[in-house]
Amino acid sequence: MNAIEIISLGIIVYMLAAGGIYLVLFLVAGPKINREKKLNRTEQIEEIMINKDTYPISVLVPAYNEEAGVASTVRSLLSLNYPQYEIIVVNDGSTDKTSEKLMDVFQMKRIELAARSYFKTGKLTAAYQSELHPHLYLIEKENGGKADALNAGVNFSQYPYFAAIDGDSILEKDALLKTMKPIIDSSGRVTATGGTVRIANGCKIVKGEVTEIKLPKRPLEVMQIVEYFRAFLIGRLGFSRANILLIISGAFGVFEKSRVIKVGGYNTNTVGEDMELIVRIHRSIKEEKSNQRIEYIQDPVCWTEAPSTIASLRAQRIRWQRGLAETIWIHRKMLFNPKYKGIGMFSMPYYLFIELLSAVFEVIGYGIIISGLLFSFVDTDIALVMLLVMILYGSLLSALAVLLEEWTYHKYPDVKSIFILYVYALTEIFWYRILANFWRVQGLIYSLRKKHAWGDMERKGVFSDDTPT
């Protein structure tokens, strides 16, 4: 057996193991999903809505050049069901008319700034409060990146919990109630929560609210829906059950402010500020030997606009991969460190070897398949086995996620959508995964040549006012 064949076998074993880990993670979460799937979700949160003790929340919306969607994002936030909350839009030195748009629609009036500073951020230049909705604020600051904008928002916020939401996401009406539930139920022992994020492309959205769930037309967007199912359904729940969850999506998460302040806020030196913060929180919990935990709720609560073009998807994936690489690098001391228990011994290695490096292994795998099947550099049998394992790992696992989604949430209202999603999932390995893996490898390379910026996603304006898409 030559070196290439040994590598090939290594990759085959790796992919089988990774697929196995996915399945084990699902099995860990499975009983809970099964147990709770019939629960009446509306009844479940009724209490929190009427209870005067429900913790108030500050909703932070960092915005950089979001003039297309910011007003409708804010409008959807204004209609959230929650007893007491404030919305703070942080304009991170936008060069477009983000602020003007808000001032125009919500009649913002300038107020004096008397914000406390927990963290140093880019200079705040002005603060405004809406005349129409006194719990809506806009703060303007010099450009400093998303993490810096969030930190400024935390400085300005007044409530003990805050939710960070992307400018391109919309929340379900009960999102805050559902995500705060674990925190309230545990009397504060849960320090951060996140919920399932869904892709809104294709859905009908009226006045910042998803009114009809439909599939998008473009294959690239459909594929991302499958991908999200896989990530959220199979991955995160299992991690959450074991209290070793490392990601609360940047699109929507709720945090205990005092904990975030204690760990020093968002890190402005990484593009993966959401994950990095969670890792730091875990780290501080473990170092303090605190009994706090981070929880993930399985209910879908947030809708986000997925990139619809190759270029914007590529930019997003490169950014994610860089964020992941940077986070693991910053906290490399936690890797295989028994002091951090499950996080050090399982989560961090999992994110390193499976989430970060799988793309590299898979790309090598492509090379082996091509050289084996077309040029016979590698034993054809090995190349074929590699192809089959990739189909197992890529397509069949994703297809399973589609089935699980239907089994648990059946959010898509018709039989046809399920069928389409399933068929798409089966095709994943033959095109989408190849693209994504190449971008992820690129992201890995870029993370070595660090450069900082907001994601340059081209906005189609899925959430533009009253536009059904």
Binding site: L39, E43, N51, K52, Q129, Q158, D185, L388, E406
Partner: protein
């Protein structure tokens, strides 16, 4: 070659299994959609007739013909009653909703409590609570007694028993020392005055109330401005336990009055900043203008929260804004100027 074949079989096998699953799910979904349509249809048919019963029971009324399929019938009635709950807020109408629930749904919930799955039992408990199905009071509490694990079902059982005014919940409140303040309050909120009276009597008689229950009781009475328990709450303002004093003061801010305001003066110079803060809040809530000077002094308090509470509550007084202007322009203390200025420019939103 054998390895290729093995993997090929694995892939084909798994694909086949998945396709079978897909077929099962699709058939299941079609069935579920059909069932939903049927329920919606039944609901649409019977709703106007029941609506008439709820709105005008004195008129001649005949129970509509309901489908023989028990599961569809009960689901349609359950959905209809949930909708009615949204629409009808009047107590008489609510009682009629309860009547219907007792008649059509109580037997179902009773059997679910006995034989249903975890999620079904919790849902049943939610509806027993929502529809106030009093005939199941005993069942709910005995079901509670059978639960070993403190999970959603445990909590929901207690909520349902409390709303049905089960007196044994009072014992649970006193005996369960690990109930959170929030949850104790949830239970108290559901209880009527008679049970509250019983709780207060027991607190007086022996000092065995868990602290969280005491806090919850103090807070809830304040929020409800319950006259009957005002003397009890006010007395606790001078309790020897700091946390009890603070909770009592917080509760009194809701009452917005004190029978003897002079009791407050000592709190402005308390060693504990929380007490100074609540002294400021109480002065504002009760409009105690005699404490104007003390409030102004608190503008220079070392603790931010106290300064803010002072500024915020000074605004409650008639000349509050004028005083804030004065402080903003003449105070020698930078913090005081800052907080006064901020308060003047910001409407609503509370402390920042």
């Amino acid at each position: 070659m054998r390895m290729v074949q093995t993997f090929l079989w694995v892939v084909v096998g798994l694909l086949a299994v998945q396709l079978v699953l897909l077929a099962v799910l699709i058939v299941g979904k079609q069935k579920a959609l059909k069932r939903q349509r049927k329920i919606a249809w039944v609901k649409g048919q019977v709703m106007p007739i029941y609506r008439q019963f709820i709105e005008a029971p004195e008129q001649k009324w005949m129970e509509p013909q309901l489908p023989s399929n028990k599961s569809i019938r009960q689901a349609a009635i359950e959905e209809m009653l949930i909708d009615f709950q949204e629409t009808y807020k009047d107590q008489k109408e609510r009682n009629r909703i309860t009547d219907l629930a007792e008649r059509h749904l109580a037997p179902r919930y009773q059997s679910i409590l006995k034989n249903g799955g975890w999620a079904e039992r919790i849902n049943a408990l939610y509806f027993i609570e929502d529809f106030r199905i009093a005939s199941l009071k005993e069942e709910v509490f005995s079901h509670f007694k059978s639960l070993a694990k403190q999970d959603d079902e445990y909590w929901q059982c207690l909520r349902a028993a409390a709303i049905l005014q089960e007196p044994k919940v009072v014992d649970v409140l006193f005996e369960e020392s690990n109930l959170s303040v929030g949850f104790a309050k949830e239970l108290l909120m559901r209880m009527d005055e008679e049970l509250h009276q019983r709780i207060m009597a027991r607190m007086f008689m022996k000092d065995d109330a868990p602290e969280n229950l005491l806090y919850a009781f103090i807070m809830l009475n304040g929020e409800r401005k319950s006259e009957r328990f005002f003397p009890f709450v006010e007395k606790l303002m001078t309790d020897e336990r700091k946390e009890v004093r603070i909770k009592a003061m917080k509760s009194l801010t809701h009452y917005g009055r004190l029978s003897d305001p002079q009791k407050l003066s000592a709190f402005f110079i308390s060693l504990f900043w929380e007490e100074r803060m609540y002294a400021a809040k109480l002065a504002g809530a009760c409009k105690l203008t005699d404490f104007k000077e003390q409030l102004i002094q608190l503008f220079t308090d070392p603790v931010w929260w106290v300064r803010f509470a002072a500024a915020d509550n000074l605004q409650e007084f008639e000349d509050g804004n004028a005083l804030l202007h004065e402080i903003a322009s003449t105070s020698e203390d930078a913090y005081a100027r800052d907080v006064a200025r901020h308060m003047l420019t910001k409407k609503g939103g509370g402390n920042r």
